[in-house]
Amino acid sequence: MAEILLEHVGKTYAGGTQAVRDVSLSVADGEFIVLVGPSGCGKSTLLRMVAGLEDITTGTVTIGGRVVNRLEPAERDIAMVFQNYALYPHMTVRENMSWGLKNRRIPKDEIAARVEEAARMLELHPYLDRKPRALSGGQRQRVAMGRAIVRQPAAFLFDEPLSNLDAKLRVTMRGEIRKLQKRLGTTALYVTHDQLEAMTLADRLVVLNGGKIEQVGRPLDVYHRPASTFVAAFIGAPAMNLLDARIEAGHLWLAGVDLGRVEGEARAVTLGIRAEDLQLLPTGGLPLRIDVIEELGAGRVVHGFVDDQPLCVSLPSGAELPAQLHLGAAPEALHLFDAITGKRLPQSVHSSAKVHA
């Protein structure tokens, strides 16, 4: 158990590609941190640098008070779960779990006890003497977890461990990973491109974009106060609506509709509204021309256009919808971003007009 400290960590590959740029992050003991971002954002590279599988070009990585930049992966006191499990195909489940311990000269009975304990936790008992080939994807995933658990490391590193599983199993395993990590209290770094996985697992989310940290925060904070249009569009499904709007004469204008009072001089802004924050109004408000309706069973997502800008709305299932909807949103549900940099603007919108439900 230990905290992990990243200070100005950067990775430049031979050839000049900068995969990770100046990442600083402090992970508390026992914390579950999820690194999330689209493919190519540097999240896996960052994790592999902590693991010691990639050289660190700049900055320092500290695990449990020890700078590990120059240490071999085996000396860093971490355990890693790989996307394709990376089990040793010629070893039985038991051997897979105990090999790493044997190499650390841990006494035989201690190894047996740890494997026993892990097998009990992960319900792997019936498979201990099988080879990975004879296991299903979910079972292999458990073995990979078991191999990490028996090590009793300072930190778990997960590299998209669930992406090879089917959707249903993914949800189950997600819950198990979370429970297990809480129970063991081991610090965890978890990489995923799945924002739902990130939201449900993380104590804190780290959203990465182009090798840089875009935002760090608790899942709900990130969800409710995205720091940029990138985060706004990445976290949450359906993605947050981002619309071109204007601040003029102390009011926010979209498609000729006054959305409320706002400070600041006249400028173009990007307005973010989550689909579920929009409500139907009897009249007035934002006019939405319906294009497509996705029925999800529990609800429906209506896609349409406001003045030629695409917008989607989450609505409860039920009545037939007219060709044009009138929409409103609470002023605190309106997010303002700089139209050029995409960064969140400090201003908030205050109620003034009739658009607000």
Partner: protein
């Protein structure tokens, strides 16, 4: 060719290797008519029958006869040819050298091939151009290497001989038994290393990088990672190469031996295959030569079966 009766055993080994359980078994083709599959394999079967089975049967048959050197008749002599061969001191001596030769050549060419492959693999992970460059050199060389090796040990112009002379070693390949044995083994190993290298290298490259990385986290010692993870994953390749290398040492070294000891004084080391050839084609003792080749065939078949029984069960096919 004298080696022909033994080729089926070797082909069987290759076939077993090719037929090892694949990660994704190929789909089985279904034929409506039972004759169709036989027609497809007929050309291959025909070749096998004419060039492998027919000579084998011939060899077995003639091993029971004493043939007139000029082909004017043959007398049935039962097991006499076998008895003569096995009772001969010379035969036993050559058998001893053959065993030593095969063991040394196999061990050295496998060991060195693996060593080079491991080193090359470490350098060229990920760098494709380098890989191609290395492999293409090794792929082109083998047929030429045997001949070059023989020139290297030439008594008059061979650089190895000259180098040995610098240390006061008067190397007389083709005259001195020990020197010739050394040269034979060196050239035979040299010729076989690239072959093993390519197979081992492709075996190494087939080890998933995430498995290597998992091992990197699990074990600090590179030797342990190699012994406990890489080597077992290379075992199928290694086993295949073991079978191939033993048959290589026993049969395919014929050309090397022929070039090195032909036209040289007697008392040079030769292997059983070369003796089969000498007795049959130089000595015109078809019966005796056939008996020897049958013995050789039985020995190699037994060896191959033993390898599959004893070693293969410990091999993990991925």
């Amino acid at each position: 060719m004298t080696a022909s009766p033994l080729v089926p055993a070797r082909l069987a080994a290759v076939r077993r290797w090719m037929a090892r359980p694949a990660a994704h078994p190929a789909k089985l083709a279904q034929f409506d008519r039972p004759l169709a599959p036989w027609l497809f394999v007929a050309p291959q079967l025909l070749i096998v029958a004419i060039f492998f089975y027919w000579p084998s049967v011939q060899a077995v048959t003639s091993s029971f006869y004493l043939e007139d050197p000029f082909g004017f008749g043959a007398a049935f002599v039962g097991l006499d040819n076998y008895r003569d061969a096995l009772a001969s001191n010379e035969y036993r001596h050559i058998a001893g050298f053959t065993a030593l030769f095969a063991a040394t050549v196999t061990a050295l060419s496998l060991g060195l091939g693996l060593l080079l492959a491991v080193k090359a693999d470490a350098v060229m992970r990920g760098s494709g151009a380098y890989k191609t460059a290395l492999i293409s050199v090794y792929a082109i060389a083998p047929p030429v290497v045997g001949l070059i090796g023989m020139m290297m040990f030439d008594m008059h112009i061979g650089p190895f001989t000259q180098a040995a002379a610098l240390f006061g070693w008067d190397m007389r390949v083709g005259i001195d038994y020990q020197d010739t044995a050394l040269a034979l083994i060196t050239v035979a190993v040299w010729k076989q290393i690239p072959y093993n290298f390519i197979f081992f290298l492709s075996g190494l490259q087939a080890v998933p990088s995430s498995v290597r990385e998992a091992a990197l986290i699990d074990a600090r010692s590179g030797w342990r990672r190699f012994r406990d993870v890489t080597l077992p994953l290379l075992a199928p390749t290694g086993f295949f190469l073991l079978v191939i290398n033993i048959t290589y040492a026993l049969f395919d070294t014929f050309g090397i031996i022929d070039v090195m000891v032909k036209d040289k004084p007697a008392n040079n080391p030769i292997t059983l295959v070369y003796k089969v050839y000498l007795d049959g084609f130089k000595g015109n003792d078809i019966g005796g030569s056939s008996a020897q080749s049958v013995i050789l065939m039985v020995v190699v078949a037994a060896l191959t079966v033993a390898q599959f029984r004893l070693i293969e069960r410990r091999v993990h096919y991925g």
